[in-house]
Assembly symmetry: C2
Homo-oligomer: 629 residues x 2
């Protein structure tokens, strides 16, 4: 039974969390005090009695993990850190200031924050990823706690998480929904109708517990019940009041994301019983376990392919990933129900214990990858490249999380043929280039794919590999190297009149064009720009110098933002990019401009004017033109 003393301690801590949330935001002049106040009682009990976390060793594999999905309640999180003794009152007052670790929404700039939040509906799907790691890979008994706002349950990604968590029986995952009834601009869709939340959660296979989120005994009992269940995840649906504890704020509209003015602050703090400086000793995990390593690392034996054979790069991806799996026990794979198309199924068959089927839920897939890398796994997540666009916000946020994930998109471009435009990724290079910390790779051959996949594993940031559906000729030897940031000069002479730059499927069109042009005694350099970001600036500059500034870039992508844009950037003045000093640039971009339909790959490449015919024509238009116009 809970003692009166215990209740008093919790109460005092909760009031301190409220007071500190107000103090920090008032100093900052902005932020979300009222959203921080509604779940303060719940957090007080969690921090005092349930969380198992060694603040001095955030990487301790036995630590529980806490994700503040309602990231705008960052002041509450920082107040908790203060109560735990790891940040000072002084640092709390740096909230939202330039250079402070206490950003407006939490990011891993703080050592105790695993993932950035603030785009709502992401914390729970990421929590699923961490819980998958805990239950199936680490096999350690830690818990993953996720605090959600009620508004964010409108996001479908939250229901992808509900679905996957029960599918994978994640009894180590505990969600708390802070049902304070008020969103940014008014009442939420469901208000305080906690029964509906509970019914939905139960239909998705969860234990659902409805409580008064300001009743400390109910909170305590709910946490106990959550820890007791061992066949499903638990969600605690807590009815709360926004701005709880201050009459002028409590359950009132118009206070979302507003700091109190000095006079209001004074009154509010008085009402909450004044400032406190309570420090609590957060319990460290009792367990001293180590993650279960899944298999013994073998020397890396990448697949090899014979030159001249026809092999799809997606096929090589599956082979290489499987090889990587043998060599690196931390490599894990996820796929969104198309593993027989992306060839992630090879890995799934070889290492079923390290493969997670994510069904058709790309947001959850990317979020799970982010969660898995929190625990140092190296997730490769694959789907059709077109469908990765479903999770673009998760990729954007993964960058804010400083996450290290690998995304693999197959079936890129119109060269997929008959299936039509819904299945064709034509914007993926643009979208993925415009992500901080990203690497964008687009191999043209199976041996090259294998070498790139092996480098992806240790590459930090968001690493994207674009693969091709069609089988294409193997043009490189299996012993060649393809460093990220490099390129490959596939054809060159000392008489080159232009340079053709392709990648993936279009490199093969460039090679066909090379042959035809050579028959007409026009020699061109052909560059395989397999590393779209970072791009090989020096090789491009040299080619432009050697070929009179004539460049033709050809890509199976919309005209905007892809390979052509990457090449143009190599010649622009951007930060530390070396300056180009050669003949004046004359660059032609060949890319998809009209909405394609169905057809054979060859027909579609031709219709879009990104095939050998179009390249030949473009090169001729350049070499015929006098220099210097």
């Amino acid at each position: 039974m809970t003692t009166q003393e215990q209740l008093h301690q919790w109460y005092e801590l909760a009031q301190q969390l409220r007071v500190d949330s107000i103090r920090a935001t008032t100093v900052a002049g902005s932020g979300h005090p009222t959203s921080s106040m509604s779940p303060a009682d719940i957090m007080a009990v969690l921090l005092s009695n349930y969380l198992r976390y060694d603040f001095n060793d955030p990487q301790n594999p036995n630590n529980d993990r806490f994700i503040l999905s309602k990231g705008h309640a960052a002041p509450l999180l920082y107040a908790m850190y203060k109560a735990a003794g790891v940040i000072s009152d002084e640092e709390l007052f740096s909230l939202r200031q330039l250079g402070s670790r206490l950003e407006g929404h939490p990011t891993p700039v703080l050592p105790w924050v695993d993932v950035a939040t603030g785009s709502l509906g992401q914390g729970l799907p990421i929590g699923v990823g961490v819980a998958l790691a805990g239950k199936y890979l680490d096999q350690l008994p830690y818990h993953v706690w996720v605090l959600l706002g009620d508004s964010e349950t409108s996001e479908g990604s939250v229901w992808e998480a509900f679905d996957h968590a029960s599918h994978y029986t994640l009894d180590n995952l505990i969600a708390i929904i802070d049902v304070n009834r008020l969103g940014q601009r008014g009442q939420t869709e469901l208000g305080w109708n906690t029964q509906v939340y509970a019914a939905r959660a139960r239909a998705f296979g969860w234990q659902a517990i409805e409580i008064d989120g300001h009743n400390l005994i109910e909170i305590d009992q709910a946490f106990s019940a959550a820890l007791a269940v061992n066949d499903r995840p638990t969600v605690i649906i807590a009815r709360t009041k926004k701005g709880k504890g201050v009459a002028s704020l409590e359950d009132l509209g118009g206070w979302h994301g507003k700091a109190l003015k000095a006079e209001q602050e004074k009154q509010a703090i008085a009402e909450l019983g004044g400032e406190r400086q309570i420090k609590i000793e957060v319990s460290k995990p009792e367990e001293q376990g180590q993650p279960v390593f899944l298999g013994n690392p073998q020397p890396l034996q990448l697949p090899t392919y014979n030159q001249g054979a026809k092999v799809a790069t997606r096929r090589a991806y599956g082979d290489a990933l499987t090889a990587l799996g043998a060599a690196q026990p931390h490599v894990v794979a996820l796929d969104a129900e198309v593993s027989n198309s992306t060839y992630a199924e090879d890995f799934a068959e070889a290492y079923p214990e390290r493969y997670f089927e994510m069904y058709i839920a790309e947001q959850q897939m990317i979020a799970a990858a982010v969660g898995l890398q929190v625990r140092q796994y190296k997730p490769f997540a694959s789907s059709f490249a077109a469908f990765l666009s479903r999770g673009y916000d998760f990729v954007r946020m993964a960058a804010v999380s400083r996450a290290n994930i690998k995304l693999v998109g197959s079936h890129a471009g119109i060269s997929i043929g008959q299936d039509g435009p819904s299945q064709m990724a034509l914007e993926d290079l643009a979208a993925l280039r415009a992500v901080w910390s990203s690497t964008v790779l687009y191999p043209s051959d199976a041996n090259q794919t294998a070498k790139l996949v092996s480098q992806m594993s240790d590459r930090n940031g968001i690493v994207y590999l674009r693969t091709t559906r069609e089988s294409t000729p193997v043009i490189y030897g299996s012993d060649e190297e393809f460093p990220i940031g490099g390129s490959r000069i596939v054809q060159s002479s000392d008489r080159d009149q232009a340079t053709v730059i392709g990648a993936g499927i279009t490199l093969h069109e460039a090679l066909k064009a090379y042959d035809r042009l050579r028959n007409e005694d026009i020699l061109v350099r052909v560059i395989d720009a397999y590393s779209v970001k970072p791009i090989d600036v020096q090789t491009l500059h040299q080619a432009a110098r050697d070929t009179n500034g004539n460049l033709v870039v050809v890509e199976d992508h919309w005209i905007e933002g892809g390979l052509g844009a990457a090449v143009l950037d190599a010649f622009a003045g951007i930060g530390s990019t070396p300056t180009y000093n050669g003949p004046r640039l004359r660059l032609i971009k060949l890319a998809v401009q009209d909405m394609p339909g169905s057809g054979t790959p060859e027909e579609l490449l031709h219709a879009a004017k990104i095939d050998a015919d179009a390249i030949v024509e473009a090169v001729k238009s350049q070499v015929r033109q006098p220099v210097g116009v």
Copy 2:
């Protein structure tokens, strides 16, 4: 009671739909016959007895609407069109061929297809949009029928649709889930567990009916029950078998997305009772109603702002949208629970009957916009620009749908300040530029915003407006015009040494830099590139000619794919883009390169080197440099 004759007719039609799905895919050599066969009985009954549709007048406002969310079952849809007498057997055999209207997945190239499908989980949320139009705007009694696959219910967007459909009591919306148990690579998550589907649907407020999807009587009864309910949407959860009717296919793995070979086809057709050439008369809608026009159009009176005042462009968006609402009764607005930040709330207050609160569900918001434009409404959908990235796949598919929608993203860039990177859109220009049919606008001033908003209404395709959180000076008169595709030369002289190109917040930094440079006797041209796509190529070329090729582009966006990329494209050889013939281009791109944190807008602009200081430095580096390097 259903007669034996009726049952026989339905059976025969269903068999024909199966046979034709096989015939078309065998000729094509690819496609999805088995996924077309499982729901054939359901479609036979729908087409024969429930659908109200005038195939000769697809725009008839009283028509029911049918959306094939499982777009890979396109052969079934085309077989239905053949049965309805609107396409020939010959055209059926053109499936998946270049130039055919019968693409691998349905697109509006066909007059009876309202929206493209094929990226799963989109049909139902789009159906919500059409049903919103029917119930609240048209106020006509047509129904919206959506056929989903079972696999696609893993997509969170489906649950956003379940949620919103019940919230808006869309009793005119009827979903059918074809539970054939088999996904692309194996069993679905829930298999034939139709009870779980039903429980989830009911928890989300729907009438759920479980049936045997091959029992014609049960199908008929379910449709009747769906039409009878008038307080909620209905979902029919139909247990079916993939490849139904052919023993070598039925309920077997390994047959997803595979056409039968000629010999297999012959056997299968025999088993299904041979070819049939049944034509049916689809019932036309009995009603002859017209859409209820919501209000009488008034002359357009755009808001005006005094030069020198400080007004946020997001504020002007709200004002202008409201003005547009008075002038154009077809303008409707949606927002994802941030209408008090985007200022869509002004429209919501003025025209509550034309405003749809989408809560925090950006995928559903964009899908609803697509659905609303099916019925000729002009939807403006707004959220923080960062969060529109949540619906990127829906934007991509909206382009395939040839949809006319307007997206408005507020709080763009690091200039939002303290809230930190999770709230900052820094990839939106890149992402939206790389969408077919897109227009990308980024105004710098309130009067300009109003003029652009008024042009958005009639602009086809995906039209994106990026607005700024901060208040910025009004620099233009309210009588000035800002055509899409244009730009504005804000400062110029006949002694300009360089050109600075900005848009939105950075234009104001450019103007500050102009003043400072002028004090040092360096004159620069300043261009406001408010139309990022299409960009004003001629004005850029002229500026480059006039200012010795010295261009500085400054944008509050990542370095990739945004305004700088648009300017570079203006000087590249792309299709019909005019050729530049002036001094050699020396272009400096100033954009965000490091992950920002919190800070004041001014601090963050400075830290990112996209403020006046950085512009001054860049211009000086250019004008100091001798020409021709």
